[in-house]
C-alpha cells in the first residue's frame, strides 16, 4: 500500500484545486497540484477576479457625473482603457502569485505541466513523468462554450477570455447571452461609453435569477441606453474587415440584421473533460460532466471530481466547497456528503448588484412548494438615501407554517455582501425573529435585511 508519491494529486489549480490542496495539507496529507497554465485557473486569471477589477474601474468612471455635480470639470479626452486593462491584470497577477505563495507555505508541490489520467492512482505528464497518488482529484475546470456558426477568433468574435484581454474598447458590441457574465460585461462596456446590444434567447435577462430582481436590473440597463432583445437568437454572422454583421431572429421568426465592431458570445461554459484520459480509467462523461456520488467521488474509488467538471452550479465557491468535502473524505473524516444546493449563494456584480440563494419564486411554484414572501425596499433604509443608491429591495421566501428561510433575493448596492447575513441565518437554522430582533448598526444597508425579517413577523418599522 505504501509507495504512492502523494496522498492526493490534484489536476488544476483553480479555486477548486488550490483550495483542496491547501485543505489537504492542513489535514496532514501530502498533496500535489498539476497546472498546465497560470496558477489560480480561470477564476483568478480570466474570470472572476479581472472582471471584478474591471467593474470597480467602471464604477470609478461612472462617478464622473457625480464629480461634475460638485463643480469639478473632468476632461475625459485622455481616457485610456489600456490603463484600466492593466489594473485588471495587476489584480490577477497579484492573486495568482498569492496562490503560489499559499501553496508553497502549505508545502503543496506545484507541478507545471499538462497531465492525463493513466490509471486509478496515476497521472502521466506530457514529459512522460508519472505522478502517483492514493487519491486523485480532477479539477480541470471549464472553457467558454462556442455556438456553431460563431467560432471564437478573439478579434471579431470574442469569448469571455478575449473580452477580459481587450486593450481597446469597441464602439459598439453585441453580447449574446444575458446570464451573469453577459450582464456584467454589458455593465462594464456601457459604463465606459460603448454602445451595447444585449441579446438573450429566453424571455428575459438573467433567466435563472428571481424575476423581480432581473426586472430591476433590466429597467436600469434600459435607462442607461443598453439595448436589450429577449426571446431572440443569433442565426448567422458575416465578418467584415473592421466590423461584423449579425442576423437576429425573434420568437415570431422575424429577422433583423445588426452591425457591431465585435460580438461577445457568453452563452455558457463547457467542462474540460474531453482529453484528460477519463476513458483510460473507465469513467464515461454525461453531457461532458463527470458523474460523481457522495463526497464527489467518481465510480473509481480513488478518483474524485470537483468544480466545473461536475454538474453542479459553475461557481468558484462551489468548486472550493466540493474540494473541501472531497479532501476531508480522503483524510478519513466524515463531512456532509454533498453541499446543500439551496445554500449556494449566487452573485451578479453589475449595478445594481443581485445576490441570492435558495429557490427563486418561479422554481418553488414549479415544484408546488408552499411558500410565503416578504419584501423591503432599499429606499426604506436611510443609508441608501444618504448615498443616492435607493434602487432595489430585499426579498425573503419562507415556509408559511414554520417560517424556515427557503430563499432570499437581494437587488441593490452591496447585495453580494448583504446576502451572507441571510445565508448564515438559513444555514444555522435561525428564524426570522432572530434576525429581526438583532440590533443592526444605523445607518447601514443591512437594516433593510433586519426590516424584511420584521416584515415576515408583521412589524416592519420603516416600511
Amino acid at each position: 500500500m505504501a509507495g504512492f508519491d502523494f496522498d492526493v494529486v490534484i489536476i488544476g489549480s483553480g479555486p477548486g484545486g488550490y483550495v483542496a490542496a491547501i485543505r489537504a495539507s492542513q489535514l496532514g496529507l501530502k498533496a500535489a497540484v498539476i497546472e498546465r497554465d497560470r496558477v489560480g485557473g480561470v477564476c483568478l486569471n480570466v474570470g472572476c477576479i479581472p472582471s471584478k477589477a474591471l467593474i470597480h474601474q467602471a464604477e470609478l468612471f461612472r462617478s464622473i457625473p457625480g464629480l461634475e455635480a460638485m463643480g469639478i470639470a473632468v476632461d475625459k479626452r485622455g481616457f485610456d482603457y489600456g490603463k484600466v486593462f492593466e489594473k485588471s491584470r495587476k489584480a490577477a497577477d497579484t492573486l495568482s502569485k498569492g496562490v503560489q505563495f499559499l501553496l508553497k507555505k502549505n508545502k503543496v508541490e506545484l507541478i507545471a505541466g499538462e497531465a492525463i489520467l493513466s490509471g486509478a492512482n496515476e497521472m502521466t505528464l506530457k514529459t512522460g513523468r508519472k505522478v502517483t497518488g492514493r487519491a486523485i482529484i480532477v479539477a480541470t475546470g471549464s472553457r467558454p462554450s462556442e455556438i456553431p456558426g460563431f467560432p471564437f477568433d478573439e478579434q471579431r468574435v470574442l469569448s469571455s477570455t478575449g473580452a477580459l484581454m481587450l486593450e481597446k474598447l469597441p464602439r459598439k458590441i453585441l453580447i449574446l447571452g444575458a446570464g451573469a457574465i453577459g450582464v456584467e460585461f454589458s455593465h462594464i462596456m456601457a459604463s465606459f461609453g460603448v454602445q451595447v446590444h444585449l441579446v438573450e434567447m429566453l424571455d428575459r435577462i438573467l433567466p435563472l435569477e428571481d424575476a423581480e430582481s432581473a426586472q430591476v436590473l433590466a429597467r436600469s440597463f434600459q435607462k442607461r441606453g443598453i439595448a436589450i432583445s429577449t426571446g431572440t437568437k443569433a442565426v448567422s454572422m458575416q465578418k467584415g474587415p473592421s466590423s461584423v454583421s449579425i442576423v437576429l431572429e425573434d420568437k415570431a421568426g422575424a429577422r433583423t440584421t445588426v452591425e457591431a465592431d465585435q460580438i461577445l458570445v457568453v452563452v455558457g461554459r463547457t467542462p474540460n473533460t474531453d482529453s484528460i484520459g477519463l476513458e483510460k480509467v473507465g469513467i464515461a462523461t454525461e453531457k461532458g460532466f463527470i458523474p460523481v456520488g457522495d463526497f464527489y467521488r467518481t465510480k473509481v474509488p480513488s478518483i474524485y471530481a470537483i468544480g466545473d467538471v461536475v454538474a453542479t452550479p459553475l461557481l468558484a465557491h462551489v468548486a472550493s466547497k466540493e474540494g473541501e468535502i472531497a479532501v476531508e473524505h480522503i483524510a478519513g473524516r466524515s463531512p456532509e456528503p454533498r453541499l446543500d444546493p439551496l445554500s449556494i449563494p449566487s452573485a451578479v456584480y453589475c449595478e445594481p448588484q443581485i445576490a441570492s440563494f435558495g429557490l427563486p419564486e418561479w422554481k418553488a411554484a414549479e415544484k408546488g412548494l408552499a411558500f410565503a414572501k416578504a419584501s423591503f425596499p432599499y429606499r426604506g433604509a436611510g443609508k441608501s438615501v444618504a448615498i443616492e443608491q435607493t434602487e432595489g429591495f430585499v426579498k425573503v421566501l419562507y415556509d408559511p407554517k414554520t417560517k424556515e428561510i427557503l430563499g432570499a433575493h437581494i437587488v441593490g448596492a452591496d447585495a453580494t455582501e448583504l446576502i451572507h447575513e441571510l445565508l448564515l441565518a438559513r444555514s444555522a437554522e435561525l428564524l426570522p425573529s432572530d434576525v429581526a430582533s438583532m440590533m443592526h448598526a444605523h445607518p447601514t444597508l443591512s437594516e433593510a435585511v433586519m426590516e424584511v425579517m420584521r416584515a415576515v413577523e408583521g412589524w416592519a418599522i420603516h416600511a
Binding site: M1, A2, Q26, G28, K30, R134, G332, E429
Partner: protein, 389 residues
C-alpha cells in the same frame, strides 16, 4: 533502525481497520510473528502479527482508533532511538512537518473523536426548537446530528421512536453482494418435501454413544457433496464468457451473527466423511461467531446451504451466494399428514417431512438440470445409502 508498523489489508475488501486491543505495550519486546494487536475489519476481528522485530517504541493508533490501510499505527526499533522523523505531523497541527523529498506518502490520519454535545443556547437550532414545540416533542428526547451534537431540523423531523443506525462494514458488504446476486442472477426455485425419517435415523445411530453430537448439517453437507459430484453443472460459476465447473464440492454454511451473517466453507465435501465434515463445521461455526475467520475460510463456496429449521421455518427461498450458482434452503423437520399407497389403497399417515428448496441461477442451471440434481439429493436424503453408491 526504527521501522514503521502500518495498517495492512487483512482481507481483500478491507479499506479501514479499528484497533480493538493492543496485546503489546510500549517498551515490550516484539519478535517476528508475535501478535501485537487485534484489528477489527469489515468481516471479522483478526490478529495482527508483526513482520519485524524490535522494541515497541510508540503506539500511534490508540485502542478504539480507526485507520486506513497503509496508515501508521506504531513504531518498532531500538530503545532510546529518535523516531520523531517517522511520526509525521500530529492530527491537530495546522502545518505538516514533512521536510525533504520523502518518497512515501504521508500516513497517520486519525479521525477526531466525536465531540461531546455542548450545552447552552446552541444545543438546538431555533428552527428545531420551533418544530419541536409545534409538534409537542420534548427536545431532551432527541439526539442531535448537527455541528457539535446540535439538534437540528432533520433530527426533529425523524418520526419519534425511530433510531438511525449507521451501516456497519459487514452490512454494507451483505447489502452489496446479495443485491448484486439478486439483480444479476435470474433466480428460480425448486421445492421438494423429503421423508426425513432415514436422515434422522442415521444421525441418531451416529450419535449413539458419542459425547459430541454430530449435526444434521454435517450429514446434509456430505450428501450434497456427493450429489454435486454427480451433477457438475450445479456446482458451477457464471463468468460472463465462460462457466467454471468446480472440481470439488466446496460448500458454505450460512451462519447467523449478531448483526449479519457469514458463510464459512468446508472444502471437498464430496470426498469427506460426515465426521470429518462435522468437526470442521463445528470449528468454523465457533470461530465465525467469535469473528475470527480468515478470509480464505469464508470465500469461494461453489454451493451454499442455509438451514432455518431450528428457527421453526417450514420452508423458504434463499438468495444465491456468489460465486456459486445455487443455494439450498432447508426447513424444519415436522410431522405431517402424508398420503401413502398400500395394498388396501391410499391412506393418510403421519410422517416426519422436511422441505428443501433449491434456488438456481438460470444463466448456468436450466430447470431440468436443477430438478435432476434436487431429485437425486432428495433421494439420497430419504435413502442415505444411495450416497455411497
Amino acid at each position: 533502525m526504527a521501522e514503521k508498523v502500518l495498517m495492512i489489508a487483512l482481507s481483500p475488501t478491507m479499506e479501514t481497520g479499528t484497533v480493538v486491543r493492543w496485546r503489546k505495550k510500549e517498551g515490550d519486546q516484539v519478535k517476528s510473528g508475535d501478535v501485537i494487536c487485534e484489528v477489527e475489519t469489515d468481516k471479522a476481528t483478526m490478529d495482527y502479527e508483526a513482520s519485524a522485530e524490535g522494541t515497541l517504541l510508540k503506539i500511534v493508533l490508540a485502542e478504539g482508533g480507526q485507520a486506513k490501510v497503509g496508515d501508521l499505527i506504531a513504531v518498532l526499533g531500538s530503545p532510546g532511538e529518535d523516531i520523531s522523523g517517522l511520526l509525521g505531523a500530529p492530527e491537530q497541527a495546522p502545518k505538516p512537518s514533512v521536510t525533504g523529498p520523502a518518497a512515501a506518502a504521508k500516513t497517520a490520519i486519525v479521525p477526531p473523536p466525536s465531540p461531546p454535545p455542548i450545552g447552552g443556547r446552541l444545543r438546538s437550532s431555533p428552527l428545531a426548537r420551533k418544530l419541536a414545540e409545534d409538534r409537542g416533542i420534548d427536545l431532551r428526547s432527541i439526539t442531535g446530528s448537527g455541528p457539535d451534537g446540535r439538534i437540528v431540523k432533520r433530527d426533529v423531523e425523524a418520526p419519534s421512536g425511530d433510531e438511525v443506525v449507521p451501516v456497519s462494514g459487514m452490512r454494507k458488504i451483505i447489502a452489496k453482494r446479495l443485491s448484486e446476486s439478486m439483480f444479476s442472477a435470474p433466480h428460480y426455485y425448486l421445492t421438494v418435501s423429503v421423508a426425513a425419517d432415514e436422515l434422522l435415523g442415521i444421525r441418531a445411530k451416529l450419535n449413539a454413544g458419542r459425547e459430541k453430537k454430530v449435526s444434521l448439517n454435517a450429514i446434509l453437507f456430505a450428501l450434497a457433496g456427493r450429489a454435486l459430484a454427480r451433477h457438475p453443472r450445479v456446482n458451477s460459476a457464471w463468468n460472463g464468457e465462460t462457466i467454471v465447473r468446480r472440481g470439488s464440492a466446496d460448500i458454505g454454511l450460512a451462519v447467523a451473527l449478531p448483526d449479519g451473517l457469514v458463510t464459512p466453507v468446508v472444502r471437498d465435501c464430496g470426498r469427506k466423511g460426515i465426521l470429518a465434515i462435522d468437526s470442521e463445521l463445528a470449528d468454523l461455526v465457533e470461530r465465525a461467531r467469535a469473528g475470527k475467520l480468515a478470509p480464505a475460510e469464508y470465500a469461494g463456496a461453489g454451493f451454499t446451504i442455509s438451514n432455518l429449521g431450528s428457527f421453526g421455518i417450514d420452508e423458504f427461498t434463499a438468495i444465491i451466494n456468489p460465486p456459486g450458482s445455487a443455494i439450498l434452503a432447508v426447513g424444519a423437520a415436522r410431522k405431517q399428514p402424508v398420503v401413502e399407497t398400500g395394498p388396501e389403497g391410499d391412506r393418510i399417515v403421519a410422517r416426519t417431512r422436511m422441505a428443501i428448496t433449491l434456488s438456481c441461477d438460470h444463466r448456468v442451471i436450466d430447470g431440468a438440470v436443477g430438478a435432476a440434481f434436487l431429485r437425486d439429493l432428495a433421494d439420497m436424503l430419504e435413502n442415505p445409502a444411495l450416497g455411497l453408491a
